[in-house]
């Protein structure tokens, strides 16, 4: 979903997606597309350059939780977990 190169990768702590530098609503669309993909699993780490406050109602709709975790300077890093995890 969305235009531009795919910036997602799998790591030990979950599937990562980097949406920094994208204009709204692209970050939200890419994150939601990722969490709706069946192969994604239950944990997604999103790298953003602003807090995606409009994403939260959409995550709630899909039964995902969010938590802000430590990231690089100037980055907002979110840990998204399916259900109550």
């Amino acid at each position: 979903m969305g235009t531009g190169p795919d910036r997602s990768w799998r790591a030990a702590d979950g599937v990562h997606v980097d949406v920094r530098g994208l204009g709204p609503p692209e970050p939200m669309v890419r994150i939601l597309a990722l969490i709706e993909a069946p192969e994604t699993g239950d944990v997604v780490i999103a790298h953003l350059d602003r807090e995606p406050i409009y994403l939260y109602p959409e995550l709630a709709e899909r039964g995902w939780r969010h938590a802000i975790v430590a990231g690089d300077p100037g980055e907002v890093r979110l840990r998204l977990t399916r259900g109550g995890g």
């Binding site: 979903m1 709204p24 669309v29 709706e36 975790v69």
Partner: protein
């Protein structure tokens, strides 16, 4: 404070307290009922209305200022600082704008309806001051915006149109006291173009480029379509205002054609967003947006028809109704029924408690009643104007009032659910439950 918490603080500071946008939305909901009631009272005068003091003018301004402008102000205060990543420098001016604007609209509505010129003048002064405060806040935010150039450009055109609209509006109010203007009707037409297609229209078009993709979960539409739409809109506005003031039919016709081309570019951009959307099932709000999108070009065609005497004897009233109610109010109702639950859920999420789901708030009976009343109301009032039949206008306005009451019911449910969300106990680190 951790880096994450520090950044969070910055982002949260861009999100105003919910009482700011919701006080404007609440006022808009009340004025929505009042505007339809005024239309019920004015029904017999509506078909032949082409300006002048009285209940039709009061209904028009309760709708344009009370509903459309109040919603636009609330939405702009809420969305612009987040979208532009520039927090407002202070919150108190937004409250000041409210306390100037809302009593001003009430006074203007009374002054116009009861033909009470001192009250009208006082209301006009309050509304103008409130809108100037809004324009200064918005301009200050847009000036500091580093991205979202397309939306910011629409915002600048809207602010410029607002300034010109206000100047003309004050001159029109003064002209009711002592004939100052060489042609009151020409100035009123320029005022209508600036308000409908300029101030409100440009905000609607600009926000659409962010809100519609956000609602349907699609990539942003191609920028070239947005830029084309913007340039054609500016051209149409300039030609329309100059043509109206100069009483120049060819200029007004060129404005209408330019507006139609701008509408085509806008609708093309929205079609791209819908075609590439992730959300396959669209809710009722899109029925409102679809009808509004149809009414935008219809209003311009009616404007051109009126210009050339091909829209019947009541062309001016039909043009004004389709522009204000068919396009702007219907679009706004579609956006508002989606954005109010969204903002409520977002603010409840910010409080840390379990937020109400947007889908729970949107699936209720009130919105179905609104749809069942609003669309027939549109058709009946338009038919009543075209057929010069006051009773049909009144029947439509009664239905519109019922729809407005249903929308007030919906608004009360959303606000109650938002404020009923309990605050969660503070946890270490910056975390928030999104659901579950």
């Amino acid at each position: 404070m951790s880096l994450a918490a520090s950044f969070l603080g910055g982002a949260r500071s861009r999100l105003l307290p919910p009482s700011i946008p919701f006080r404007f939305f609440g006022a808009a909901i009340v004025f929505h009922v009042a505007a339809w009631l005024a239309l019920v009272m004015a029904a017999d005068e509506v078909p032949g209305f082409s300006g002048g003091l009285g209940m039709p003018l009061a209904a028009l301004h309760l709708l344009t200022l009370g509903v459309l402008a109040a919603t636009a102000i609330g939405a702009a205060f809420q969305l612009l600082p987040v979208a532009t990543r520039q927090p407002l420098t202070a919150v108190w001016p937004t409250r000041l704008a409210f306390w100037l604007f809302v009593p001003g609209v009430l006074a203007m509505g009374h002054g116009m309806g009861a033909i009470h010129l001192p009250v009208l003048a006082a209301g006009g002064g309050l509304v103008s001051t409130g809108l100037v405060v809004f324009a200064l806040i918005t301009a200050g935010n847009l000036r500091r915006a580093k991205d979202l150039r397309l939306v910011a450009a629409h915002g600048w055109v809207a602010v410029a149109a607002l300034a010109a609209m206000l100047a003309l509006g004050l001159m029109l109010v003064a002209d009711f006291h002592a004939a100052l203007l060489p042609d009151h009707g020409a100035a009123a037409l320029a005022h209508l173009i600036l308000a409908g297609y300029g101030f409100m229209g440009m905000l609607a078009l600009g926000f659409s480029h962010i809100l519609v993709p956000m609602f349907v979960l699609s990539p942003a539409p191609p920028t070239w379509l947005g830029r084309t739409q913007l340039l054609l809109s500016i051209l149409g506005l300039v030609l329309g205002v100059v043509g109206a003031l100069a009483g120049n039919t060819p200029l007004l016709a060129a404005a209408g054609l330019s507006g139609l081309a701008a509408a085509a570019a806008y609708l093309g951009a929205m079609a791209v967003a819908l075609k590439t959307r992730m959300r396959k099932r669209l809710d009722l709000s899109f029925a409102f947006m679809a009808v509004a999108w149809l009414m935008l070009p219809v209003s311009l065609i009616l404007g051109l028809g009126t210009l050339f005497g091909r829209a019947g004897g009541n062309g001016p009233a039909l043009f004004g109704f389709v522009l204000v109610v068919g396009w702007l109010l219907t679009f706004l109702l579609g956006v508002l029924q989606r954005i109010m639950p969204f903002l409520a859920s977002m603010h409840a999420s910010k409080r840390g408690g379990k937020p109400p789901l947007v889908s729970e708030l949107m699936s209720g009976l009130p919105l179905r009643v609104l749809a069942a009343c609003h669309f027939p109301a549109l058709a009946l009032v338009a038919a009543g104007i075209a057929l010069d039949h006051g009773a049909t206008v009144r029947a439509g306005a009664v239905l519109g009032t019922a729809g407005a009451l249903a929308f007030a019911w919906f608004g009360a449910i959303v606000i109650r659910r938002m404020t009923a969300t309990p605050r969660a106990a503070p946890k270490p680190g910056a975390a928030g439950p999104a659901g579950g």
